[in-house]
């Protein structure tokens, strides 16, 4: 009987998981397939770009700087053992542009903006603000969710570019200013190693994918939350956990595809 009960619970869990996937898919379709209302949507989008993008700038810049400093320091020490410290610029640029930039920016984005989006939408649901909007004949998917989704979609690649630029500058500070690597060698090694299509464009594509997925998870978890204090807390946690796993998993898949000669 105990085994049967455990099987029942496993089945129930599986069904709930599938239903959740189904609901999130339908939610995304409703979000993307709708008649655009540019005149009314634009001010809402600008507002969300500020809350999601501009207010994330400080954490992105500081994190980028520290990551750049650490990569520069670690890279210099390792390369110096082989007498290749002049390749530091190449190491910093490729690490940041290909992997650290998109991945770390997305993880920070999920922690700061993603959790805030889920909590805000969840609270709007629990205080019946979304229900009252529906009853006024205003679709919350259009008025509340859509600007937040597109705000995240647009902000993420821009934040990633800013992160990468600051991180490279951090590597420069450590390598050139502090440890004495030649400035010209640092930049020329970087210039010759970084390919615009294979490195920069692929990094931007990664960040667009991560931005869409993280924002989708965040807005869906907020919209689908159980409207209680505990429900909102759990939904916020789920946003950070699911987003982090999705970012790391997708990073592997995208890297494999891109390295496979895409």
């Amino acid at each position: 009987m105990l085994i049967l009960e455990k099987l029942r619970l496993l089945g129930q869990f599986g069904l709930q998981l599938l239903m959740s996937f189904g609901r999130s898919g339908i939610f995304l379709v409703h979000l993307l397939i709708r008649k655009p209302r540019f005149k009314k949507s634009f001010p809402l989008l600008i507002e969300q770009l500020y809350f999601i993008g501009v207010l994330s700038l400080i954490i992105i810049i500081l994190s980028g700087l520290f990551i750049g400093l650490v990569v520069g320091l670690q890279g210099y020490n390792t390369l110096n053992k082989f007498g290749a410290s002049q390749q530091l610029g190449q190491l910093v640029a490729l690490s940041v542009v290909r992997e650290l930039g998109p991945v770390v920016t997305a993880l920070l984005f999920a922690g700061r903006a993603g959790s805030a989006l889920t909590a805000e939408i969840g609270l709007m649901k629990s205080t019946e603000q979304l229900a009252s909007m529906e009853m006024m004949g205003v679709d919350p998917l259009w008025r509340v969710i859509s600007p937040r989704f597109w705000g995240g979609f647009i902000s993420m690649p821009i934040l990633m570019i800013i992160f990468s630029v600051v991180a490279v500058w951090g590597g420069y500070l450590v390598g050139v200013v502090w440890l004495g690597v030649d400035s010209g060698t640092f930049w020329s090694a970087m210039q010759s190693a970084v390919n615009f299509h294979d490195d920069i464009v692929n990094g931007i594509i990664k960040s667009i994918v991560f931005g869409s997925v993280v924002t989708w998870i965040a807005v869906f978890q907020g919209y689908d939350t159980v409207p209680t204090a505990q429900g909102i807390g759990r939904a916020t946690t789920r946003t950070v956990v699911y987003s982090s796993l999705a970012i790391l998993g997708l990073d592997f898949v995208l890297t494999a595809v891109m390295m496979g000669g895409w």
Binding site: T127, S132, M136, G137, V138
Partner: protein
């Protein structure tokens, strides 16, 4: 059509529990119809069914002649423009001022210029006595004031139907009197069809034209306030007189008390 809302053979279940079983009721145009019943009997659920936020398992809900549970998403949102609802919490948008909350439906559904929106908002706020509070944020309002602002917002587009969800709960006597008067005045002055969901017997009996009493998923009594007073149904009388025990038991179903203590 005489009735604004017409419900026939309504069945609704939630989490395996029957909320409504074969409910039939009519909401006549221009009248105040009250839905009463003990807490948890599904009064708010009934409002959500009428507003199309929930779908029934069986039965038909006609609103303004349209079968609401069969409408497309776009048609449903179109029909909702004829409705206003006052939620128990007020459900004001916390990031918008009082003025912007009332202006919200006007900005969303009309292309009116700002000066006209301003005039309409001030008129609506004046009608609920809160024109002076137009610049306050929802967090600066008392419970009664928040409900009055929500009422001004609900009537911003001059709806044909307005639904009140427990409008008297948690109010001090003055705020309570103000809300009772506003509901009555709005109905009389504008002829708005009104559905009033409440369990506050005294207030409802003073303003309602017709009352439905719901308990255990069924309508246990209905009629004018005068008729309900002389209703012989014990459940109706227990509810109207506020008796703690009777047909609706005081105790939640449980095993024998002594047996439970000795266990």
């Amino acid at each position: 059509m005489k009735d604004f809302v017409n419900i026939r053979g309504l069945y609704f279940n939630r989490n395996g529990r029957t909320v409504f079983s074969d409910i039939e009721l009519n909401i006549p145009r221009g009248k105040i119809t009250a839905i009463m019943g003990p807490s948890g009997c599904g009064k708010t659920t009934l409002l959500r069914l009428i507003g199309g936020q929930l779908k029934p398992e069986r039965g038909n809900i006609h609103v303004d002649g349209k079968l609401i549970n069969k409408l497309s998403r776009a048609q449903l949102y179109e029909l909702r423009r004829k409705m206003g609802i006052l939620f128990q919490s007020g459900a004001l948008f916390t990031n918008l001022s009082v003025f912007e909350n009332v202006a919200f439906p006007l900005r969303e559904h009309t292309e009116l210029p700002d000066f006209m929106i301003r005039d309409i908002v001030l008129m609506k706020l004046q009608s609920v006595g809160l024109r002076g509070a137009k610049n306050l944020m929802p967090s600066q309002l008392s419970g009664g004031m928040a409900r009055r602002v929500a009422l001004a917002r609900a009537i911003a587009l001059d709806p044909e139907l307005i639904m009140y969800d427990e409008p008297f709960t948690g109010l001090d006597p003055i705020a309570l009197g103000v809300i009772v008067k506003l509901i009555s005045d709005l109905n009389k002055a504008l002829g708005i069809t009104t559905i009033l969901v409440s369990h506050d017997v005294e207030e409802v009996l003073t303003i309602a034209d017709y009352i439905y009493v719901i308990a255990s998923g069924k309508i246990i009594g209905h009629g004018t306030p005068e008729k309900l007073h002389i209703d012989k149904e014990p459940e109706v009388q227990q509810f109207l007189q506020g008796l703690p025990d009777g047909v609706v038991p005081f105790h939640y179903p449980a095993i024998d008390y002594n047996q439970d203590l000795m266990h």
